[in-house]
Subunit: 168 residues, 2 copies
């Protein structure tokens, strides 16, 4: 990977090295919907064998999926979300939520997400304050930490100073 | 766009049509950090003029960014997040959070996100129940709505039935 300014040394960029393409995110969506077998991913996504192999291998190498023998057929492999993979749930739910809100289908709802313990629809993905209140981008000021890429740190500090001049 | 199974008729897929590539997400990251000018995006991302033009034009066409004259120089254009663009904040924060958690930097924190009204660090992105409790993927069962792509609906119903057989 060529390291260029803004493409490394930031949490967003580090995540996009792992899942920053449409296929990887669609594979993960299907994994969250319970898909485990190579053939099932392929059939469902109409993806070429080489692209699917490449993406699954990367997701395994990056610790997002685990490849292991299928319990009902030891010759077959299945791909299961690891803890790191399961922790991508807010990414997938926020992508889903934006699409449902800004690209609605006139035929109605696409997906209902139900809390298993209560049977109630979930509220969805949100950015929360320490006290648990929902926040928008306008409510939040970024600060560069010691490990932020220097070019981004400059950007972030400029933005922070501009925000400090205006009311929250 | 070629319509293939699983690539349309789902909130995630619809969102990925708009922002499903690494450059678009890095452009949006920088827009959330206050970048507005073509030159500033280009310098900061080391992105080619043609790729940057293409991605900005798509984000404008899709209603995520608005292109307008810069207030201090009417000949220059600036790109500002629209309401739909600002609503992608949970996507960006959840990407950032995953990278910081699973790809930490030994030098320390990269970015601190501070609630402007209180000066406190934010909690971050989460998936919430109707009552506001944080949920993991294991807590949630999906149900196909009338507008879900048929191939995905089949997948989702199979997954739901499997979940119903096990304890929440």
């Amino acid at each position: 990977m060529t390291v260029r300014p803004g493409l490394t040394g930031c949490g967003v960029a580090e995540t996009l090295k792992v899942i920053g393409d449409r296929w990887s995110l669609l594979i993960l969506r299907n994994a969250f919907h319970g898909v485990r077998r190579f053939d099932a991913f392929q059939e469902q996504l109409s993806i070429s064998t080489s692209v699917l192999s490449d993406r699954l291998a990367r997701l395994v190498r990056e610790g997002v999926l685990e490849r292991r023998p299928a319990p009902d057929d030891g010759r077959a492999a299945e791909y299961r979300l690891t803890e790191a993979g399961l922790d991508l749930y807010p990414v997938l739910i926020s992508l889903n939520q934006w699409g449902d809100r800004w690209r609605p289908d006139p035929a109605g709802e696409r997906l209902r997400l139900i809390e298993r313990a209560t049977g109630q629809p979930i509220r969805g993905a949100a950015v929360l304050s320490e006290a648990g209140a929902p926040l928008t981008a306008r409510d939040v000021a970024p600060e560069a930490g010691p490990a932020l890429a220097p070019d981004l740190a400059e950007l972030v500090e400029t933005h922070r100073k501009r925000l400090l001049k205006s009311a929250p």
